[in-house]
């Protein structure tokens, strides 16, 4: 328990599990798309693969303790937020660019909007635990300094 990140507590564990599920979904989708018809929509399929990698890294960053991982979590979840907003908008405006769906198309409609809700929940969770996560290394060094 002590080695766990302060982010991996309470409802944060559910968040991590949902990230795991979405990582699985995005990985599965991109594997099929790239094997079958990469040349059909290279932009969409590269994005699917990228999204899969980002979900996996974000999930690891939420579990792993420490300040560096906290920063990785901020970057990856922030990237997801930007991704779903940019790709969601582009998929509505320019169908040519995304002839086939990605996890982020139409703001994640195909995944019951989980790709849109998840980064919002993730950023809220990171903000709520900002102090604890950043203070962790300092707390660990207090007894050493005192004795």
């Amino acid at each position: 328990m002590a080695t766990r990140s302060s982010l991996a507590t309470g409802v944060g564990r559910v968040l991590i599990a949902v990230y795991g599920i979405l990582a699985l979904a995005a990985t599965g989708r991109s594997v099929v798309q790239i094997i079958e018809k990469f040349s059909h929509a290279p932009v969409a399929y590269t994005l699917s693969a990228l999204a899969a990698v980002v979900y996996i890294v974000a999930m690891i960053a939420l579990i792993a303790p420490g300040r560096a991982w906290y920063r990785v979590a901020c970057v990856t979840i922030g990237f997801e937020m930007a991704g779903v907003l940019v790709v969601g908008t582009l998929s509505l405006v320019d169908r040519q660019l995304f002839p086939d769906d990605t996890v982020w198309s139409y703001y994640g409609l195909g995944y019951v909007f989980a790709p849109l809700v998840l980064p919002i929940a993730g950023l809220w969770w990171l903000r709520k635990h900002h102090r604890a996560a950043v203070a962790e290394p300092a707390l660990a060094s207090v007894p050493a300094a005192g004795e």
Partner: protein
């Protein structure tokens, strides 16, 4: 896939998902009922998996994309065991919610498999 069996799976997974999420938020730790329910979901997945391997050999292959179906069929099998392992390691009520989330995921994935097998989209 066998159609009626697929619907049994989807309904079971949704009921298990609702049950586990509700009792998880109420405060239940993972117990025989919630873990057992996920094990039952997995058992039906294995049965449907065997059916989906046997049917093409008897002349009824999937009407849709076989590769896409296969990726779903293999990855869906990983979901309940992962949720169960989680529940055995982390003995808090949040694991019960995770079990529920896993069951919902199975419901969605089985429904997608149904769409792919019968080429409905």
């Amino acid at each position: 896939m066998i159609e009626w069996f697929t619907w049994v799976q989807v309904v079971l997974a949704v009921v298990v998902g609702l049950f586990a999420v509700v009792v998880g938020f109420v405060g239940w730790k993972p117990d025989d009922y919630t873990v057992g329910a996920l094990a039952l979901v997995e058992l039906l997945l294995l049965a449907q998996g065997v059916v989906s391997l046997v049917l093409p050999a008897t002349g009824s292959p999937p009407q849709g994309n076989a590769l896409e179906f296969g990726v779903y069929a293999v990855s869906v099998l990983l979901v309940p065991p992962a949720a169960i392992v989680w529940a055995l390691i982390d003995r808090t009520r949040w694991s019960t919610v995770v079990l529920g989330a896993g069951a919902f995921t199975v419901a969605v994935m089985v429904y997608r498999m149904y769409q792919i097998w019968f080429a409905l989209n």
